[in-house]
């Protein structure tokens, strides 16, 4: 491990927009019971922190990773930027073990939004009632109509750059920023879609197409999945964390929360956290867990105590269960033209055709798919490990890098109880039990993926792709503390509040009862905005 020292302390936090810069930051003593202790500074935690601090609550956010300054800390280099990923020891099992680390988690203020692909799509309205309306999964306890204003709030906050008329979903206002010019990799998708007669769009992306505050427009350098060194990307590090600090929240970096403390009356009283080599205890009136779909259930389970022997918020037995991911079987082909897919954001064109069309499906669920732009290291690893290419064969195949294009879906998987996060017997560097992630595809999941591979292959072929081949992958993790309307069938209510422990909340992708066929970050941020408003309303009514 590299020696890391916290930056956010002594009354200041890094100013992400200035080399070596600082922002003044309010600090709270451990002994002061703050209104909210939030665990995790990603899409859920940083967003909620900004909302609550603006509403006048005292807020401390605990982030296990560093507080980056992109201008100083981020290189245009795949290997160096592996530091953005959560790489603490974890076990992955089941019939179809999920690759963790860089695939689906971040470490540092901003969480995985620091390296996400910036794809900012809304759920199809019916997915919020997918059991009732589409016959699969679990209904959300909120409707699209309730979520729509929060989607709009999140899109405005991120200055999402997208088309004037987005071709799917209910009519909506235009995106805040104009769409990006589509690169050749995206034009392959466009060409294929037009040949097959389906719609495509320039992907709505959370990287700005024109200047915005201290963010310059995107320069199409293509390293988006490795941190954006120029701050065009509207990550939680760049958007919500500075809002939160300016509004009076404290963000404590390199602070790993290991356990939530409970009172004899069954309320959370604060969090034990590890920082600068020691354990500390922060008192809090409310605790929000926002560590994403592995660390959130892990913390609730690791906080088991005599009063709650099966972990916190777990009277339903559902904490850690119903883990979902997005399957991402890729289809790849070679083109006569130069594509040079390293230029621009990796996913500049999208089709949501199979998110909105239900005819001809032999499965429940949905998928979108996007054009791709992997960088050489990641691409060589995919080629080598998938096709077993090595020796001269690998080097020769890699020469096709500039002539390759492909599609990867964001393919829904069913929420099932056997797919779960549990505690393994091994411990990590803090002495905390590490998570074991167990995942297997259902027959439906496999049918959905076969459909996507068939369809994407047909489209890539129509676009002029030759020598097609496929690989398997996944992205995103969701669903392990689902929200719902019934205490016996959900971990938290529609406001993210635990049914069992009234001052304990969850605010991240763990909440998703069903996953849909789009990337989750926009929905997580919209949910966090909504939960922030719900908490304000409860406080006004004296029900907090």
């Amino acid at each position: 491990m590299t020696a890391e020292a916290p930056r956010a302390k002594d009354g200041r936090a890094p100013d992400v927009f200035k080399s070596g810069g600082w922002l003044p930051m309010r600090e709270y003593p451990d002994a002061e019971a703050v209104d909210f202790a939030i665990v995790g500074a990603g899409a859920g935690g940083a967003t909620l922190a900004a909302k609550l601090a603006k509403a006048g609550f005292s807020v401390v956010v605990f982030e296990a990773g560093p507080f980056w300054r992109p201008l100083d800390d981020f290189a245009s280099d795949e290997l160096e930027q592996q530091k953005l990923y959560w790489t603490d020891d974890r076990i992955t099992g089941g019939d179809d073990p999920i690759a963790l680390g860089g695939n689906n988690s971040g470490r540092g203020v901003g969480g995985s939004t620091v390296h996400f692909s910036m794809i900012s799509l809304r759920f199809r309205p019916e997915w919020f009632k997918c059991r009732t309306k589409l016959g699969y999964g679990f209904d959300w306890p909120v409707s699209y109509e309730e979520m729509a204003p929060y989607y709009a709030e999140a899109e405005q906050a991120l200055s999402v750059s997208g088309p004037v008329r987005y071709p799917w979903g209910p009519s909506r206002g235009r995106y805040p920023y104009r769409p990006h010019e589509v690169n050749a990799s995206g034009l392959v998708l466009a060409r294929g879609a037009e040949k097959l007669g389906i719609k495509w769009a320039s992907t709505p992306l959370a990287t700005v197409s024109a200047p915005r505050g201290e963010s310059p427009p995107c320069v199409y350098r293509g390293f988006c999945n490795f941190g954006y060194s120029t701050n065009a990307k509207q990550s939680a590090l760049v958007v919500w964390a500075p809002h939160a600090v300016r509004a009076g929240a404290e963000i404590r970096d390199l602070a790993m929360v290991g356990r939530i403390e409970m009172t004899a009356q069954g309320r959370a009283s604060g969090v034990h956290y590890h920082r600068e080599g020691e354990w500390h205890f922060q008192k809090a009136k409310n605790v929000v867990v926002a560590g994403y779909a592995i660390e959130t259930p892990r913390l609730l389970l690791n906080s088991a105590c005599p009063q709650f022997p099966n972990g916190l918020a777990n009277s339903s037995g559902l904490v850690g269960t119903h883990l979902t991911t997005h399957a991402g079987p890729g289809v790849w082909g070679t083109f006569e033209e130069e594509i040079r897919w390293y230029k621009g954001p990796p996913n500049m064109a999208v089709t949501e055709h199979w998110n909105y069309c239900d005819e001809g499906k032999d499965f429940h669920g949905a998928y979108a798919f996007m054009s791709q732009g992997p960088l050489p290291r990641a691409w060589a690893q995919t080629l080598a490990a998938t096709r077993g290419l090595w020796g001269e064969a690998l080097r020769t195949e890699m020469l096709k890098y500039n002539h390759t294009a492909g599609f990867v879906p964001v393919a829904e998987t069913e929420p099932r109880s056997q797919n779960r996060v549990e505690l393994a017997d091994d411990s990590d560097q803090y002495g905390l039990r590490i998570p074991r992630v167990i995942f297997s595809y259902s027959e439906n999941d496999k049918r959905l993926q076969r459909h996507s591979v068939r369809f994407m292959s047909e489209m890539l072929d129509a676009a002029g792709g030759r020598d097609l081949w496929t690989n398997d992958d996944t992205s995103h993790i969701m669903g392990t503390c689902r929200m719902g309307g019934d205490p016996a069938a959900s971990v938290v209510n529609a406001g993210g509040r635990s049914w069992d422990i009234p001052n304990l909340w969850v605010c991240d992708g763990s909440l998703f009862p069903t996953t849909g066929g789009v990337n989750p970050s926009l929905t997580i941020q919209a949910l966090a905005c909504r939960i922030g408003d719900r908490i304000k309303a409860l406080a006004r009514r004296g029900e907090l």
Binding site: M1, D72, F74, A75, S76, D77, E78, L79, Q82, Y85, T87, D89, R90, I91, T92, G93, P97, A99, G101, G102, E181, N183, A184, L187, C218, V219, Y220, R221, G222, F223, S229, T230, E337, E338, I339, R340, Y342, K343, G344, P376, R377, W379, A380, Q381, L383, A384, A385, G388, W390, G391, E392, L394, R395, T396, M398, L399, Y401, N402, R436, V437
Partner: protein, 211 residues
């Protein structure tokens, strides 16, 4: 390494598709920011000393890497082994391991020993001492899982070969600027980025493909 054998066909180098292009020519241009220059200077000029592997394991990794990414065309091959040793010494992994599999360092120790055992079983000699075609035959057997399971406790030979060994070696090779130049990758691009994004479009600071 052994005495040089007549090179088998498989040690041919791929054709030079972007000859004359060198990513590093952009070192002082607006495509390279200070942070990136610092990171790459380290990679190019400061090779980590051996800290984790034994001398014998080091030689074995050298020999394996030379078959996984042969570089007969390079006077100065891209270094692989020092970065594997560095990764293991720092215990800096991908952040997950398969259920039942040992932790990363132990997996490498066992896997390397098993490959050497496979070489001895097939060719009565350690892997590093074999001729390249015998080395390739050994690696093919490991890749295909045609091994003695007794040598692979808690490990799948195929999984170790593909997901640990090959993925790591390929990832190190293609993290080097010489490999970027070889495949015509633009390389670092901050803050300048790119302007021409369409089919067959190329900025003047990008690689030109041989006609």
């Amino acid at each position: 390494m052994s005495e040089p054998d007549p090179p088998p066909v498989s040690t041919a180098a791929p054709p030079a598709l972007y000859s004359g292009y060198d990513v590093l020519d952009k070192w002082a241009s607006p495509s390279f920011d200070a942070k990136t220059r610092g990171v790459l200077a380290q990679r190019l000029h400061v090779l980590p000393e051996r800290r984790f592997l034994t001398e014998e394991e080091w030689r074995l990794v050298e020999a394996i890497s030379a078959r996984l990414v042969p570089q007969p065309d390079r006077a100065r091959p891209i270094p692989i082994t020092p970065w594997i040793d560095d990764m293991l010494a720092a215990d800096r992994g991908e952040g997950f391991r398969h259920d039942g599999a040992p932790p990363m360092r132990e997996a490498w120790r066992r896997g390397l020993a098993a490959i050497d055992a496979e070489a001895r079983r097939r060719h009565a000699q350690g892997f590093a001492g074999l001729a390249p075609d015998a080395q390739d035959a050994t690696l093919r057997a490991v890749h295909q899982g045609e091994v003695d399971p007794a040598d692979w406790p808690g490990l799948s030979a195929t999984q170790f070969f593909l997901d640990t060994l090959l993925k790591t070696v390929a990832g190190i090779y293609y993290a080097h600027p010489d490999a970027w130049s070889e495949i015509g990758f633009g390389g670092p691009a901050s803050p300048r980025g790119y302007v021409r994004l369409g089919f067959d479009e190329r900025d003047p600071w990008e690689a030109k493909e041989a006609p």
